[in-house]
């Protein structure tokens, strides 16, 4: 974060408008996440999830990475959210999510752990010296492809292992006879 961003820019400059857009995107993401967590109707929760995904895609776009942003929409909204809603719709539409106490951590203990987590994160955010990241490349597909298959090929391979495990898990669950 450089010096110019630490001061408050005027609202009617480009930086000011960019800040407003950023805040709106964060608001959209958080609202979506909140709806997804608290809604009693499962399909409405999925709608919240989709709003959250769209907000995150907007954040990626804001951070100058249109490719990742479009992939977020294509994969998370177009594939994952639709797959989840398929699974839900095979159940009856009036089925409600159970919101009662489910585990021993419910209640004061949950509050405590959540507060601990939130406090820890806040301390981390405030204490860390955030280095200003230089814009390394233009975020184009070619650049991303080259980086992904050279510098970050390990990550790429690990992700494919995650997918493999997911497929195997689905097979195990589907073949279980009970």
């Amino acid at each position: 974060m450089n010096q110019s961003m630490l001061t408050h820019p005027n609202l009617f400059t480009v930086e000011g408008m960019a800040g407003v857009v950023f805040l709106i995107l964060i608001f959209v993401t958080l609202t979506g996440g909140f709806i997804a967590c608290t809604s009693r109707r499962v399909v409405r929760a999925i709608a919240g999830l989709i709003v959250c995904f769209v907000g995150v895609a907007g954040l990626y776009f804001f951070l100058n990475s249109p490719f990742v942003s479009m992939m977020q929409l294509l994969i998370y909204v177009g594939a994952i959210a639709v797959a989840i809603s398929f699974a839900v719709m095979l159940a009856a539409p009036e089925e409600k999510k159970k919101l009662g106490p489910t585990g021993p951590l419910e209640g004061p203990l949950a509050f405590g752990s959540a507060a601990l987590l939130a406090g820890g994160f806040s301390v981390l955010v405030l204490k860390t010296k955030w280095p200003a990241m230089a814009k390394t490349n233009d975020g184009s597909i070619k650049e991303i492809g080259i980086r992904l298959l050279t510098e970050h090929s390990m990550v790429f391979e690990l992700i494919s292992i995650v997918l493999l495990i997911a497929i195997l898990g689905a097979l195990v669950l589907a073949r279980r006879e009970d």
Binding site: R41, V43, R44, A47, I50, A57, P66, F67, M70, M71, L73, L74, V77, G78, A79, A81, V82, S85, F86, M89, P93, S140, I141
Partner: protein
Amino acid sequence: MRLTLFNVVVAVIIAIAFAAVNAAYLVWAERRGAARIQRRPGPNINGPFGLLQPPLDGIKLMAKQLTIPGGADKILFIAAPVLAMFPAIMSFVTIPFSENIVAKNMNVGVLMIFAFAALGSTSLLFAGWSSRNKYAMMASIRAVSQTVAYEIPMLITTITVVMIAGSMDLMEIVHQQSGSILSWNIFPLFGRSHNILMPMSFLIFFTCTLAETNRAPFDLGEAESELVAGFHTEYGSMGFGLFFMGEYANIVIGSCMTTILFLGGWGCPFGLFPGVWWFIIKLYLLIATFIWIRWTFPRTTIYGLLNLSWKILIPLSLFNLLFTAGLLKVF
């Protein structure tokens, strides 16, 4: 071009107006075309050739009461038709109609169109689910399973074209097909591709566009003989109108994409008019084909539809992808 607030507002208004006017008048074209094919006059009372029919229909739809069925999920019920229209309008932002007529050219233009097309299926889902009607629900499940199935061969075929062009920039894809009519992507051997399977990719892409926009013969989501009407059974007034407009806007987007990816965009076969008119001509010829197909082919069954995608189109397009990759490596 400098990005000012004025420019942005004008671009947004033009995009919305283009989508809305196209949707309204394609309904008219569809009804006239259907009538011609079925040997009856069609709407011809209001205005010359019935040209006043779309605005009158619009007024009628807007004057009607918006009813929300009891037990329906109100928020999603209202959000669904808006969601049907909005991705199509967003996609217009990045479609280049000619060298200069494009709101915002992006280097991931192809991806952007497909990303927003993917948003469209959520609208069908929510419409069917939130109306709390078994028929609407079944229709939306059908429509979404169809959209998901046909998205795959469509994306694979698009990747073939992107591989040939070496870019996801729609402008760049069109530029590479410029020159004579023979360098269009649909024609094999002459253009950049040297790929003899290109006409097949075009057919796969066009079939998938038909299915993605839920048009006949793939309009299983709107099977009025079995499902009352489809996912919009419970919608009246402008809610129904928005679904209708969304469908036609999606057809326009699909035809634009076919034109850009395979038919050389605004490239002129032999001069005469400036490029944008050629784009429009190709676009409306494709849309006319859509209408023509709808009124000449009967509806398929859901099994036939899904089998066509999973057993024929996906293997074919995968083979096409491998073949193209091999050709690009060899030449």
